[in-house]
Structures are given as structure tokens and as C-alpha cells.
């Protein structure tokens, strides 16, 4: 099992880096021939960066759209970020100062993450029009995230796993010095689920994460009268 997980996690990680790297490259190379920021839009780069920052950290547009969806998804994403920060202690030796500081927050965040996901799923099930637009993969994604959170909380609160062993396994993976993983069923489940999530990231709607950085309606500056904006293929038409 240890060997299997070593392989699975390495493969998932590789697929994640290459897949996501390719996506980002692909978005970056695709031209945006016309200026289409959703206005009112910032008229300079600083303002645009601020708009992007608000969008990424506060989900500004979603806040305007629907308070319940905003609350559930913001709680989920912030909690996920805190949980990820908490997990950095398995990847750093010695543990970084701020990671140590964030430990208790990460713990509560694990519970909030479940609450946020449950809220999002309830919406998908009970609100008619959201149910209408949901595909099986939309539900499964929430099931996967809930299972990851659930199995993680399980090995924290109910059936403790040997976290020292986990840490040496992970540090080993990072240094290409393969270590055995503690024998623990719930831990295996947690890691297999995480590997699945990482693996499907570049092939699923999780691409919303890199996507937002490339969204022309958000990342363009409203200055068409002051500056001529011309993509390569559009410029050829003038020859």
C-alpha cells in the first residue's frame, strides 16, 4: 500500500504540475483581440490589480449575486486555504514560523470547510434552478471534497494517525528518498482521495482557479481611447 500510494501521489503531482502548466501556457498564448472589461472598470493597472485582488480574496462579484452562495463558498475557500496552510507542517522541517502560528486556525477551518461544502451541496440539491444546471460531476466534486475533509477530520479527532510517520513519508517523497507510510486505513483513504483531487484538477472545472486570472472581463484596464490595443492576428488584417 505504501508503494502504491508513493506511485499514485507522485503521478498525481506530476499530472497536476504538467497539466496545469500546460493550461496556463495555453490561456496565456491565446490572444484577446478586443477590450472587453465589464464596466465600470478600473482605468489604470493599479486599479485593475485591486479589482482582481478583491475578486480573488473576497469574491466581490459573487457577493453582489447571491449572499447565501457567497457565504458558503467564501467560508469553504478560506477554510480550505487555512487547512492547506496547516498541512504545510508536513512539508517543512523545521516548520515555518507562520505555519506554526496558523495551526489552531487550520483545525477549526476543517470543520467550517465541511459546513461550507454542505451549504453548497444543499443549494445544488434543493434549489430548483441550481439542480437543473448541475451535472453528475458537480455533485461528485462536492462528495470528493467532503470525503477529503471528513477523512482528514476522522484521523485527527477519532482515530489518530502516526503523524510523525506521515511527515517522514512526505519529506521523503520531496527528497526522492522513499520512506514507508504508517499502516493506517483511514489515512490511506484520505491520501487516495487527495491524489484523486490533484489528478483531476487540470481536467475539470477546478480550472476556475487559473481561469480567473485570465478572464478578460476582469483583468483588462478600461483605457481603449488612450491606448491602441491590437492583437497579432488582428494586426495582420491591416497589412
Amino acid at each position: 500500500m505504501s508503494a502504491f500510494l508513493t506511485l499514485l501521489l507522485s503521478f498525481a503531482f506530476l499530472a497536476f504540475v504538467l497539466g496545469l502548466g500546460y493550461r496556463i501556457y495555453d490561456y496565456a498564448r491565446t490572444p484577446a483581440p478586443l477590450l472587453i472589461p465589464t464596466t465600470p472598470a478600473p482605468t489604470n493597472t493599479g486599479g485593475m490589480l485591486l479589482r482582481m485582488l478583491r475578486e480573488i480574496t473576497l469574491f466581490e462579484s459573487l457577493f453582489k449575486a447571491n449572499l447565501w452562495t457567497w457565504a458558503a463558498s467564501w467560508v469553504f475557500h478560506i477554510s480550505l486555504a487555512l487547512v492547506l496552510i496547516r498541512h504545510l507542517r508536513y512539508f517543512t522541517e523545521p516548520v515555518w514560523f507562520w505555519v506554526a502560528l496558523a495551526q489552531p486556525f487550520g483545525l477549526y477551518a476543517g470543520l467550517l470547510m465541511v459546513a461550507g461544502l454542505a451549504g453548497l451541496w444543499a443549494r445544488r440539491i434543493f434549489v430548483e434552478r441550481i439542480r437543473y444546471i448541475s451535472t453528475p460531476s458537480d455533485h461528485l466534486m462536492l462528495v470528493l471534497l467532503l470525503s477529503i475533509a471528513g477523512s482528514g477530520l476522522f484521523i485527527k479527532f477519532i482515530s489518530h494517525t502516526d503523524i510523525i510517520g506521515v511527515k517522514s513519508f512526505i519529506l521523503g517523497l520531496m527528497r526522492l528518498d522513499i520512506q514507508a507510510l504508517p499502516e493506517d486505513g483511514p489515512l490511506y483513504i484520505h491520501l487516495i482521495l487527495v491524489a484523486t483531487l490533484i489528478l483531476i484538477f487540470p481536467f475539470s472545472k477546478l480550472l476556475h482557479a487559473p481561469g480567473i486570472f485570465f478572464s478578460p472581463s476582469r483583468n483588462q484596464v478600461d483605457n481603449p481611447r488612450e491606448k491602441r490595443h491590437l492583437s497579432a492576428w488582428a494586426a495582420k488584417l491591416e497589412k
Partner: protein, 511 residues
Amino acid sequence: MAAEITAPAYRIIPIIPALRRGAMSESKPYVATDKMQEAIGFPGKLADNWQETHDAVIAKMGELLTKYRSLKVYMDACVHCGACSDKCHYFIGTQDPKNMPVARQDLMRSVYRRYFTLAGKVFPKLVGARDLTREVLDEWFSYFNQCSECRRCSVFCPYGIDTAEVTMAAKEILDSVGYGQKYSNEIIGKVHKIGNNLGLPGPALENTLEGLEEDVKEDTGIDVRFPLDIKGAEVLLITPSADFFAEPHIDSLIGYAKVFHASGVSWTLSSMASEAGNFGMFIGNYDQLRKIALRVREAALELGVKRIVVGECGHAWRVAYSFWNTLIGVGAGANDPYAIQLQNQLDLRYKQPMHICEFTWDLIERGGLSFDKDANDKHIITFHDSCNVARASRMGDFAGGQFEIPRNIIKAVANNFVEMRDGTTREQTFCCGGGGGLLTDELLDLRVKGALPRMEALQQVADSHGVNFMATICAICKAQFTKVLPIYGFDRRVVGGVHQLVSNAIKLGDK
């Protein structure tokens, strides 16, 4: 089409309607004839062999995915969160779930996933991917012609996904396989052949303008000119051709002329570029967008004007403000010879292009115009923000100037101004229901239903404040409301232009 088109009932409180599946599945515009298609460079009709069409659609989609980052990112990024699901006026008015922006995008996204993503190739059912069939293509033709490209959904999307971009891509694909929409493509043909969307030839235009000069003289006793093709004029005015004879559009044209008269700035219209509208945008075709805009460049070079001002038209202002610098070099800041040729001629101390509202407001601010505000006292006025002005352009020097400047003008020329309910104005304004190339009679049922949220907001201020005039700065809004207002029990003259109000109040000659 139903024998009689009636208005849907107002919602008691504006709650989100229950779904009525398939409610609008029969709604579709007329298909363009082979002549109309071929006149603007598209295949005349669908291939006899489905496989050929199928392959052409997929190939075109692949091409667009490499040319437009918007389309590519928007196909991938949606998480089906539903933020947009209750934001479209056509969904609110029709309750058809396929008129939810996300569902409309999914009509194309499902095909994108099937042919362009690993997950859709391997597990189509799981991720909502589907094969492209004739039925799917018909569904595109129906529902992408139920989107007015108003961008309201893009305001609320956490990733800024703009359904208008998807609709434009769909229309571009449909055109490229011979499945075009009659109304838009016929109009584009007319622009190239005659010079404007309404097919008004040069001599008729000249007559119309002479007639207007006589009318204004009779009305005011003052010689207000409506110049045409005057070389060496300072300003070239590009305005929607509806302004030349449609009601209430023409009253705004008179308003522009009076403002120019009072300002002392010499100006001219152009018979070659007698159209601000650019339906190339509606059909998502860059070549047409550019070709139609090129007439403006040619007219500007030929007449040697120093400034280009654009009349009251929503999508035209989007094209002018956001795209002209890119398409034809009207603007500033170019470093390539093509654009510099024109930018050297234009007087870059002024905004290029400039909206007529910017022109008028600038004069008002500098004390260059005087008004008899009481002349508008019969009106209790509200302002309908037009979608393309509100969410796809700007006026003035700061973000949101497109909201303030028209309102400032109204307040400067009239005494009674009332805002409609929050959430229905400014960046959250509702489309009139007739934009995006849908302003055609066979879609009247859709247009009436799509106007519902705006009519509700108007009814509220009519009841609470006695509002009897809704000013707007878009030719399509004006035409759409003129048709739709009576169906909702209003007088059709409730809608009018901002410069119509200016025209009523401006003092000429005796400053």
C-alpha cells in the same frame, strides 16, 4: 407565433420564478436567405450532408478557441455555481431554464467538453458533454437568438464569464456553416450596399435633413443646420440611422443639432458613414465588425475632420468607445503607421471618439449652454441605462461616468428626475429586451417577455412618483420600448432620448 402577444404579469415581489421547461423552445428568428448570407461572405445554406456541417462546426469552434481568450477561459472556468442563474431578463420573463446564462453557455460548453476536453471524451455523461447533432445546432439557433448580449450576467459571475462572448461565438459558428439570422445579416448587407442599417440612400438623407432644417426653423425661428458631407468641418457626427426618421429618435437628432448650433462648433454628417450601429458585433464576426467600422475611418479621412462624435446608440457606443481604436485607429496612443495617419489628423486634445453626451455635458459645465428647464415640466423623468453603455463602455474621465453624465444632463435641462429601483439601474440595469440583433417582429413575444423586469421597475416609479418619461441613449432601446410600452399599458411616447429633453429646453440665439 401566437395570434396575440400579451405582457406577462408583473411579479408581486421580484422573486425568482419557477422553471418552465421548454417554454421558449419554439422561439426562433427567421433564417437568413442564401442571398443575404452570400452577400456578406457566408455560405448560403447548411450543407446537405450533416457530417459536413458537423465537422465544419467543430473546426470553427476550434479556430475561435485559439483566437479568443475569452471564449477559451469561459468554456473552462464555469463551476455551475448559479450566481448568474436568476440575472437574465429573458429568464425572468420566460422562465425557460435554458435562458439562464449558465444554461445558455452550457449549450455550447457541452459540445466543447465532448470534442475538446479529456473528461468529455472519456466520460461524457459525467461532465454533461454531448455529441453535436442537428438538434443541438437547432437549439443553438433558437437560444443564442434569445440572448441580447447585454452582459448583465457577467457583472455577477465570480470569474467574469460573459455570456455575450459565448453567444457571439455561437452566432459566428452558425453563420460560418450557412445558418445565419435574417434580421442581422440583412442589415449588414444594407450597410455595405447603401451606407446604413435602414437602407436610406444618400439623396433621401439629404431631403430628410433639409426637411428637418425647415421644421426647426418653423419651431424656433432659428436657422439650425443639419450639414451633410461638409469637408473641413470640425466634428464628424456618427449616429444611428434611426435618428434620421424614426420616432422618438429624430427628436434627439434635433437636440444634437441645436447643441452644435449653440456651441458654434462646425459639424457634419456623412452619407458614406450614415450609420453608427455595427451589427458585426452582434454576430461576433471580427471581419464584419472591422469592415463596417472602416466606413467611419474613410469618411473621417475624406472629410478631414478633427473630432468624431457619436450619437445616442448603445452598442454603437460600445464599438466606438471600446473597439474603434483597435479596429480603425480612432483614438490615441498608437505607434503604428496605420493608426497614426488618422490620429495625426484628429485633435487629440479632445477625447476620440466622444459621446454626444460628453460633448453636451462639457459645454454645460463650461457655461456654454443655457436652458429653460420649465420647458420639460410636463415630464417626470427617469433614466434607463442602456446595457452596452453601462457595462461595456465609459464616458468622462472616471469609471462610472457613463452613469453620471447622462443623468447630469437631464438634471441640467429638467426639474423632475426620479431614479428607478436599485438593482435595475447603472451596472445592474436590465436590457430593454430588444438588443443584440433581436429587434425583429418575429421575436416580439420574446422581446415583450424580456422587457418584464424593466417594465416592473418603470411601473413602480410611475405609481409612486408619477413618472411619465423614460429617457435613454440607445436607438434600439427607443425602438423596442416604443413597441413594447403599449403592450404593458403605457403610452409609447413615454420613451425618448436625453437630447430630446435637451432640445426641449435649450435656449438658442438669445443667450
